[in-house]
Structures are given as structure tokens and as C-alpha cells.
Amino acid sequence: MSGPVALVPGVPALLPSYASLEDPVADLRAACLDAVGRLGARVRVRASGPSGLRVAAALVAASGGAVVDDDETGVLVVGNGSATRTEKAPGHLDERAAGFDAALRRTFTGIDTALAAELWADTACLGELPPLGEAEVLYDDAPFGVQYWVAVWRTA
């Protein structure tokens, strides 16, 4: 990868088609737009599936950029931690979730993919990312029982 790299979670509530009168993810949205805005006009997207691709495309479009396959000015990676952090989380509470997310917070290498699946985590595209400790982290929270990070790396 060359140029800046950003990480956002694939949250469908960020899509224009799921807009509410009161934005339930206003802080997250602001952080995502901040991050994507730093990727330049040509953004290559890495996501684990069509839902994440749609969210990425919407964020890139909202930032005035375009999704491209080559000659990118920046890379947008879509993914997030577990979705089992609380009893009201999408996958209900799993006691292992907090530790799993804490480990991801230290490094994205060596992810236990079987555990990730059990914890409803979207980690398929995270493995190549440098650690969060080397990034500017714009958002780190689990407001709905799902662990989100928004981060930007300035790679050489």
C-alpha cells in the first residue's frame, strides 16, 4: 500500500437510505468522513462483503471522492471488532468479546478467525493493517455492543 490508509466499520446506519431524523451514529459518521476525507480523490476499498462495500462507497461519495481499482490516492479498509459486547448487542453478550477486541486494539496480526466468527466480528480485511498504536485513532467505542474503530495511517 502507498498513501494514507483508513479503517472504518461497515455500519449500514451510515448509508443515506437508512437515514433517521436524528442520526444515531452522528459521532461515528463525523469520524468516518474525517478519515475518508484524508484519502484523496481516488480511493481503493477493501471490504469483506457487499454491505461493507456499500458503506465504503457511500462514505467516499459523501467525501467527494471516487472508488477506483488502481492508481489510488488512498485505501479504505472496512471492518470492526466483535458484535457481542453486551446483552443488547446483535450477537448477545459473549464474555470473550472484550478480550478479543482488546487484543485487536494491540495488533491486527494473528487474528483467530474461528473466534472472530463466533463473536460476529468483521475482521477479514484487517490482517494487513499496521497496529492501531501507529495510527491516528478518531473513534474507539462500542455504542451498540459492536466495537468500532476509525483510524488513519500515513504510510510511506
Binding site: S20, E22, P90
Partner: protein, 285 residues
């Protein structure tokens, strides 16, 4: 749509709260007859989010004759008081008399709600002169404050469309602004329960005229007769009828219960795809 000094978007549904300055209206039975009680009612419905208050000095049903002077005594100073306290509130006055309309507009009214279908031909001229809105209702040509008795229509909805559109065009010709003309089929006015049910079922035909539609359903006898319920027990039936009109796109709801009607219309408006949910996150976090 423009109601006096206030503009509203085409996707907005508006609550018009009934405020009676009468001792004998059917629903509240004089609860807001005293001026301070009526003023408290205005404060309450404003707090509940009503965009419009509809102030009336004469009950619709037959009863003691109320002279124009008495009607003005009931509503003109009250309109001025409400206007002074609520500069942004749309004030409608429920009257069919041009003389009363002229006086309330001078006191700050924004809308003339002519529930009796143009019985006084000069009312449109008053609306035009004051640049206020007018509600054009269908009554089948009955005399104000009379009950329907053995009235038949070939097609009640066609009659309502024809008469209200003709009234709207008469208002336009008299100089009322196009964006300030509203039509109302007037449930139960010149109509039996079967007529009012049919008008409700086919309210989309009134919406299709392009004129914004007001519906006045609140606790009326067609609800009571349909469900076998007395006044005071008709809220659920009223809201069911409200849902049908909202789905078809009626824009203004003349109501006693603002909160319940607002919830109903907001819900239907969202089902119809005209209003996003307030705050949706379930399943999309």
C-alpha cells in the same frame, strides 16, 4: 402551502388543534368557554406541537342563535391575545361569516376555516383582502348549523371533489393566493355515516385534485355510529380513520387530541415513505 405568515413544505403534515370559545360544543361541552380556559388550551396544544389552532365561537350543531356581534365578542379579542403571545402560531378561525372573518383577520388570524362551504359568498373576498388562507369545505349546500336529513348523492365523493374545487377556484378568482387554499370534504357535514365512511375510503380522490386536503374526523358521529361509542370513547376509531387519510396524503388534521393524532400521522407518514424514522439503529449498527 402558506397559512397567513407561515410557509410549510409539501411533505409536512400539520396538526390543527380545536379551541372552542363556546359553552356547548359536543366534545368538550364548554370546558374552554371561559377565556382563560381557552387560553390555557392554546398553551397546552402549542406545547404538544400543534402548528395551528382553530378557534371557534359557534358550535356546529343547531342551538341558540349567535349573532355576528356575539360571535365577534367571543373570538376577536381572543385571537388578538393569542397572536400577541404566540407570534409564530398559525391562527385559524372557524367561521362562515365574512363580517366575523374580517374582524379576526384584523386581529391577527391566518386562516378562515369555512366549515359551511361558502354559505357567505363574501368570505373569499375577506381572505383575499387580508392575504390569509381559506379552507373550502363541502356541505352539499346545506344551511349552516343544520343536521343532514335524508340527503342523497349520486356519488358523494364526486360531489365533494366538484364542490370543493369549485370553491377553491372561486377563492383563487377572488384573489386568494394559490398556495393558501385548502379543501376539506367535511365529514358529517351534509353527510350521513355511510357518506363519511365512503369519503374516508376514497379520500385519495380529493388529494389527487392537487389542492392540499384538510380532514376533520375527530370524535365525530360517523365514528360513534360505526363503533357504537359515545363521545369520549371515540379516540381509537378517530385514529383509525386518521390513518386511512394519512396514507392517502391528507395534509392537515383538525383534532381534539394532538399527541395521539401526531403519533398516528407520523407513523403512517413513515410507512408511506414521506418521513424517516426518528432514530433507527436496530439491525444496522
Amino acid at each position: 402551502m402558506r397559512l397567513g405568515r407561515q410557509h410549510f413544505g409539501d411533505d409536512e403534515a400539520l396538526m390543527m388543534a380545536i379551541v372552542n370559545r363556546t359553552p356547548d360544543s359536543f366534545f368538550d361541552k364548554g370546558a374552554t368557554w371561559a377565556e382563560d380556559a381557552a387560553f390555557a388550551r392554546v398553551a397546552e396544544v402549542v406545547a404538544q406541537g400543534a402548528e395551528i389552532v382553530d378557534i371557534g365561537g359557534i358550535k356546529a350543531a343547531p342551538g341558540v342563535e349567535i349573532s355576528p356581534a356575539e360571535e365577534k365578542a367571543r373570538v376577536v379579542d381572543f385571537v388578538a391575545r393569542v397572536r400577541a403571545s404566540y407570534p409564530g402560531l398559525v391562527i385559524s378561525v372557524d367561521t362562515w361569516r365574512a363580517e366575523v372573518g374580517d374582524a379576526v383577520c384584523a386581529a391577527g388570524a391566518d386562516v378562515l376555516n369555512d366549515a359551511w362551504g361558502g354559505a357567505d359568498p363574501e368570505l373569499v373576498d375577506v381572505a383575499a383582502a387580508h392575504d390569509v388562507a381559506i379552507i373550502c369545505t363541502h356541505t352539499g349546500g346545506v344551511t349552516p348549523r343544520t343536521r343532514p336529513y335524508r340527503i342523497e348523492y349520486d356519488d358523494v365523493v364526486a360531489a365533494a371533489v366538484t364542490d370543493t374545487v369549485a370553491y377553491a377556484e372561486r377563492a383563487l378568482a377572488a384573489g386568494v393566493a394559490r398556495e393558501s387554499i385548502v379543501i376539506d370534504p367535511a365529514h358529517d357535514f351534509g353527510k350521513n355515516t355511510f357518506h363519511s365512511l365512503e369519503v374516508t375510503r376514497r379520500i385519495g380522490e380529493m388529494v389527487a385534485t392537487g389542492w392540499p386536503v384538510l380532514v376533520s374526523l375527530s370524535n365525530k358521529d360517523f365514528v360513534g355510529e360505526t363503533l357504537g361509542l359515545e363521545v369520549g370513547e371515540r379516540l381509537v376509531g378517530t385514529l383509525a380513520a386518521t390513518s386511512v387519510c394519512a396514507l392517502a396524503g391528507a395534509r392537515i388534521y383538525r383534532v381534539h387530541q394532538v399527541v395521539e393524532t401526531r403519533q398516528t400521522v407520523d407513523m403512517v407518514w413513515s410507512i408511506a415513505g414521506r418521513r424517516p424514522p426518528l432514530r433507527a439503529i436496530r439491525g444496522i449498527q
